[in-house]
Symmetry: C4
Subunit: 208 residues, 4 copies
């Protein structure tokens, strides 16, 4: 139960920061720094309790790599979606800007962008937070949070830069993304996460 509450809180702050810094007036060009840092701080705070996923695609990747019990997968994703819903509603209460226009995207480009960004995220998560070769380090939150920042700077203009189906759910509720584009996040994020888990196992064959 405490793990699920931790996932709820972490995803809440991640999605809340996305909404508050992206919807105008927000943090402008610095939004990716705020969003990546929101993930970083919540990983450093909650990682020792739940692993600090805050992202269904990360939960999928960690489960494929054998570091998340199957019985936790459903409740983790449920807690993440719940945190995203509450954050989205709170953001709309604080900042109900009727002029928000959802991102226009080229579906194919956006799918590649979300796939590549989520691959990077899950690849960094598995290597920096679950690998034997990096055990005991103090950098995992910085590495993971700043992956989201980097990828948001790189492809935010193409896909909105969710790399996370729970964030994509929040973006849809907050009118930052179009409901009709949700499949892009769904496919790109779970696909990128699954492929990253396979690559992790390929480059860490002795690390079961």
């Amino acid at each position: 139960m405490k793990k699920y509450l931790t996932e709820f809180i972490g995803t809440f702050f991640l999605v809340f920061t996305v909404g508050m810094t992206v919807i105008d007036p927000g943090a402008g060009t610095l939004a990716p720094l705020a969003i990546g840092s929101a993930l970083m701080i919540m990983i450093y705070a909650g990682g020792h309790v739940s692993g600090g996923h805050y992202n269904p695609a990360v939960t999928l990747g960690v489960w494929l790599r054998g570091r998340c019990p199957s019985s936790d997968v459903g409740p983790y994703i449920g807690s993440q979606i719940a945190g995203s819903l509450v954050a989205s509603i709170l953001t709309l209460c604080l900042k109900n800007d009727p002029s928000v226009v959802p991102i226009e995207m080229n579906g194919f480009h956006a799918l590649i962008a979300e796939f590549v960004g989520t691959f990077a995220l899950v690849y960094v998560v598995l290597n920096s937070a679950t690998a034997k070769g990096t055990a005991g380090n103090s950098f995992y939150g910085l590495a993971i949070g700043f992956t989201v920042m980097t990828m948001a700077f790189a492809v935010g203009g193409i896909s909105g830069g969710a790399f996370n189906p729970a964030v994509a759910t929040g973006m849809t509720i907050m009118h930052i993304a179009r409901a009709g584009d949700f499949w892009i996040y769904f496919l790109g994020n779970f696909g990128g996460g699954a492929v990253a888990a396979m690559v992790f196992m390929l480059i860490n064959p002795e690390d079961k």
Copy 2:
């Protein structure tokens, strides 16, 4: 005594950075980075002496969690307020801009913003700097400082982003916030800190 001096110094630099980067001409959109970093560096410098609270709401949360002796609570808060007063006066000497206009705020929205931001801050403090599960790490200052940065990017436009009654005191003296809005910081910050301490104990039941 050395603990109180450390709290004085750390809060001085935090409030001094707030005033100097927010009052025009300051650091513009980068002010949250400077302010979060001011907290980070003072935590890394003074944490080993006083715990590096620099914030009455943090002192409340750490006391509720059982890591601050009751006899220190009053002197800590007194030292923090004193540091804030001196920093505010110095800032006004260096930058007496009569055109500073206090933030206009919607009281209810600002109360939520300060509650949510201070919750995040005290939640990150307790988990990264007092929990058994993260003992011995090198990231606590980065995590705590960047929580203030992230929350300031997220809700700075709504409440000014103090998350700290000592900072709110300084903001009032420096005319960044209105005296009539001080109750928002008082309620939001102590409320958020207290709830964060309860949540910490809920998710770390074995960690007394």
Copy 3:
């Protein structure tokens, strides 16, 4: 083989971030933060597998310092160039902006800039990631990644700020740099890396 795949992936994300944040519309003045962070996250993710070079000049420096087997030098550089090629092609697919104008440079100034920047990078790599005196630290990725960020802020306007022949290859393919200027990167990067390795050995005489 797993080392070469790791070098491929890391260089891919480094060059992809360069292209996506530098070609308009990109990350604007924040591009160096994104690029330095791309290197940081990939070092934290892949360092325990391959050493996290992602740069032929770094491979040269690490080899001169005796921490890279001669048999790995060729495959490492090949993997880095391959990652750069794939990243460049993907960037051109996502962002084919025919109006990109390659950087104009003063050859002599640019050569100095690339030499100085690559010297800094390889000097930081060898000291923070291969020296006995810093063994077991958690900061190597931050130090190395932010060296590229710092040097890109400092001399990006003079040479484009590659400090890496694989990145320079990608910049040439993506029309950010002129093919006729490639010698500048080749000479400056390998030269700076080699001199940094010598200086490292001079200041760490007992560290073989």
Copy 4:
């Protein structure tokens, strides 16, 4: 000798970054991030060899605290000034902008700004890099480098934000600061450093 070379290299890159990011066209409002990061990376690279001072005021503070042999004080300061000279000349070669106008300053305000900023810097150096209570950490470079960043955001507009007589020397040569204002840096930096050393000894009485 290897310690002096390390001090030369670190101060060279610090002053080079100051010149290249402050003289137009430079890094604009992000210059403090670049400059603080330059210090951070050089501390992480050279700290294990020389302690990573790169600043005569830091050398004074570390000597007062008893962590720098008296016989090193002169050569350290000489190496730092030499690094600054070479960096300034190189910057002028790469970027000879005849229109650079030195900062106008109110002498009394600037003296306070330099005193306060250098106090913060040496206070953070002594506590994060020489105290028993923080031994073995990985954050010292981040803490020290970002102190310069924070203080430059806070008071850069008032004094130029040197906090370092070697940097002030470079700024004077590069026409960023007026020769007639050098006494401000001299007094403010050595004064702030000396007072910080005394405060460190006051709050760490058992740490000889």
